[in-house]
């Protein structure tokens, strides 16, 4: 089931050349397929995020691009050159590892200088290549340290640095030899929330300043949406959807994507005809078309797109079963014919109150049925805690 996927018109246009291309990449560990015919291309200068839950294959994809794993099937291209069998040390991609992987026996300066000391540059004389001089190395390390705001940390031992500082050293070390592509494997996973937000901005700023391609792996959907030009949603070793953050959020391709990105009510429906969909016992106007007559579909309605109205004015009527104050809004759980909806509203409603719901045509998104249909139930057993547990990545992931 090869899927050659086209990256849809991104917010910024990337007419840059393809810098990395995966063609039908598959990989198994001990007979278990972790990547199933993944095809994807990444353009020069793009910020691409591989997003998915634990075990979806995103880290494996990154490790195949980095050269730490070899694909069982399929080809990997760097520009026009096939690099499927090229070992990691000969690839022009560098990685920022999940746990930084700084060298504890070297200080900050030597960690960052490490790639430069291995580098050979064309010599002025006819003797071919030479090593970089100590002066050249010092200039570049100093410049790099300034970029990641760590000037003056040259002689510190890496083990005395805070998590955020170690992260910056790792980034500086990965960028100093000017790779074409930087791979980042959950780089902010070990940082606390506040620091993570700061580093998100900083990473984005660095990427824009130096203009190289970033391939970023995360399980944090918010991180993916706020940083990326293009998001690749993965599950079960397959790509579910590729698109801009807005596309992914507003027009999820299937129930998995809708559920994974943000909160969503996913209801069984029937597409009566173009722009007419029936669900929860009511016929709604919508903007989607191109389905068969009476085709069963999945319908997504985002909690913030539902308006609470008096029962007699609502398209749907139901009883409030729970209200939680979230700061910006109330999270209201409403029982409509046995299906628990989540609604986000700034208006307070009483528990057990009967309310009406009003849904605009553009708030309804219709998706084709997929193997994920029906897997994501309603909000009857909803709690923040369970949600976090199911989204949290475990360290066991390959």
């Amino acid at each position: 089931m090869a899927k050659l996927v086209e990256i849809k018109g991104t917010s910024k246009s990337y007419d840059g050349a393809k810098v990395i291309e995966l063609k039908n990449i598959s990989k198994s560990y001990d007979g278990e397929r972790v990547l199933d015919s993944v095809s994807l291309y990444i353009r020069d200068g793009e910020f691409v995020t591989l997003l998915g839950p634990s075990g979806c294959g995103k880290t494996t994809t990154l490790r195949i691009i980095g050269g730490f794993e070899m694909a069982d099937e399929g080809e990997l291209y760097f520009g026009d050159t096939e690099i499927s069998d090229v070992p990691a040390h000969k690839r022009q991609v560098n990685t920022v590892f999940q746990k930084y992987a700084l060298f504890p026996h070297l200080n900050v300066y030597e960690n960052i200088a490490f790639p430069l000391r291995l580098k050979k540059v064309p010599a002025d004389t006819k003797r071919g290549t030479r090593k970089l001089t100590e002066d050249e190395i010092r200039d570049r390390v100093t410049e790099m340290l300034a970029m990641v705001a760590l000037s003056g940390f040259e002689n510190k031992s890496v083990s005395t640095l805070s998590g955020g500082q170690q992260q910056r050293v790792a980034i500086a070390r990965a960028l100093i030899s000017h790779p074409k592509v930087l791979l980042l494997d959950e780089p902010l996973g070990a940082l606390d929330l506040k620091l993570r937000k700061d580093m998100q901005n900083e990473l984005k700023a660095i990427q824009q300043a130096i203009g190289i391609t970033f391939v970023y792996v995360t399980h944090d959907q918010e991180e993916a949406l706020s940083m990326s030009d293009t998001v690749v949603v993965m599950a079960d070793g397959e790509i579910q959807q590729i698109g801009t953050p807005t596309d992914i959020y507003n027009e999820p391709k299937n129930a998995f994507v809708a559920d994974f990105i943000g909160e969503s009510n996913i209801i069984d429906g029937i597409m009566l005809e173009d722009k007419q969909v029936k669900f929860a016992g009511h016929v709604f106007e919508c903007l989607d078309g191109g389905f068969d007559k009476n085709e069963p579909v999945d319908v997504v309605v985002r909690p913030e797109d539902v308006d609470v109205v008096p029962p007699d004015k609502g398209m749907l009527r139901g009883q409030v079963t729970g209200v939680t104050f979230k700061g910006v809004h109330y999270e209201i759980i409403v029982d409509i014919k046995g299906f628990k909806w989540m609604i986000q509203s700034t208006d307070y409603v009483e528990p057990d109150e009967n309310i009406g719901l009003y849904i605009e045509p553009d708030a309804i998104h219709v998706m084709k049925k997929s193997k994920y249909s029906g897997k994501f139930g309603d909000y009857s057993s909803f709690s923040d805690e369970i949600d976090q547990l199911s989204n949290a990545d475990t360290a066991e992931e390959f």
């Binding site: 992987a101 504890p104 083990s159």
Partner: protein, 275 residues
């Protein structure tokens, strides 16, 4: 009361362990020739010991053998530990681990005898006229062999703890696999490598059983010399020799223990741990 009892118990244990050794050390400084009566402090027997050419030769032989076999065992053992770590199949890994532990589990006397038989057969097959010609080589191979599992055992935990991340980072930044090992992995597993080497050195230094079986007549080590001295009359110069061996081994042990104590005292590095 309980505390008191436990202290007495500890004193008894340490007494049993160390009084015989202390007796040897004390009597090595005896001015007279008696092994029962202390007649005053003197370095006479040390002087006597080093006037005998046999002792010098044995000391030299022991050191040459201990240094070369421990170095060889360290190189082979570290490479073996890295190889075992890289093995993918759990079954083969366990099998290789068990096989490498055999020389350690085996009673020395069995190892010594099988080594002796092996070298005797080798002499026959290769048609070597005199065993003494390959005597040193035989000793070197034997000592390296029985030191090997200790080195592997000392290096392997460090490699396991380090994991693949640092090596992968080195490869990622442009190191060839060989460079990655020497520039990144080795410096980070060095404590284990050094303590393995020290252990191998002390084991080789005081080995008697295996050397007794394998040793050629032209290559006598200190433990063999001491043994041959006890067969004649027991003189305090033997005590002096024993004292030197004890002090040497103790010093090395203390150094290696201090190193590992230092290592555990420093807090765990955040970034360097394997997944």
């Amino acid at each position: 009361m309980k505390k008191y009892a436990s202290r007495i118990y500890m004193c008894i244990i340490f007494g049993v362990l160390y009084i015989p050794i202390l007796t040897v050390i004390l009597f090595s400084f005896n001015a007279g020739e008696s092994t029962a009566e202390f007649e005053g402090f003197s370095f006479y027997w040390y002087g006597e010991l080093f006037r005998s050419p046999d002792a010098w030769v044995a000391l030299r032989n022991t050191l040459i053998l201990a240094v070369s076999s421990s170095l060889l065992a360290t190189v082979i053992g570290t490479a073996a530990a890295e190889g075992i770590y890289k093995m993918r199949s759990r079954l083969i890994k366990t099998a290789v681990n068990s096989v490498t532990n055999i020389p350690m589990m085996n009673p020395d006397i069995v190892t010594g005898m099988s080594m002796m038989l092996f070298f005797a057969a080798l002499v026959g097959i290769l048609g070597i006229a005199d065993y003494n010609d390959i005597g040193f080589l035989a000793m070197l191979i034997s000592h390296t062999t029985f030191c090997l599992p200790y080195v592997i055992l000392s290096v392997l935990p460090g490699i396991n703890e380090l994991g693949d991340t640092l090596s992968e980072a080195a490869l990622d930044l442009g190191c060839t696999p060989v460079k990655a090992f020497f520039k990144v992995k080795l410096p980070n597993i060095l404590p284990g490598v050094i303590s393995g080497m020290v252990m191998a050195f002390t084991l080789s230094l005081d080995d008697f059983v295996i050397s007794y079986f394998v040793g050629p007549s032209n290559f006598q080590t200190l433990p063999l010399l001491i043994y041959s001295m006890t067969k004649k009359t027991v003189k305090p110069d033997m005590y002096a020799l024993s004292t030197i061996v004890i002090v040497a081994v103790f010093t090395l042990l203390i150094i290696s223990n201090m190193r590992s104590a230092k290592k555990t005292a420093t807090p765990k590095r955040k970034g360097a741990r394997a997944k």
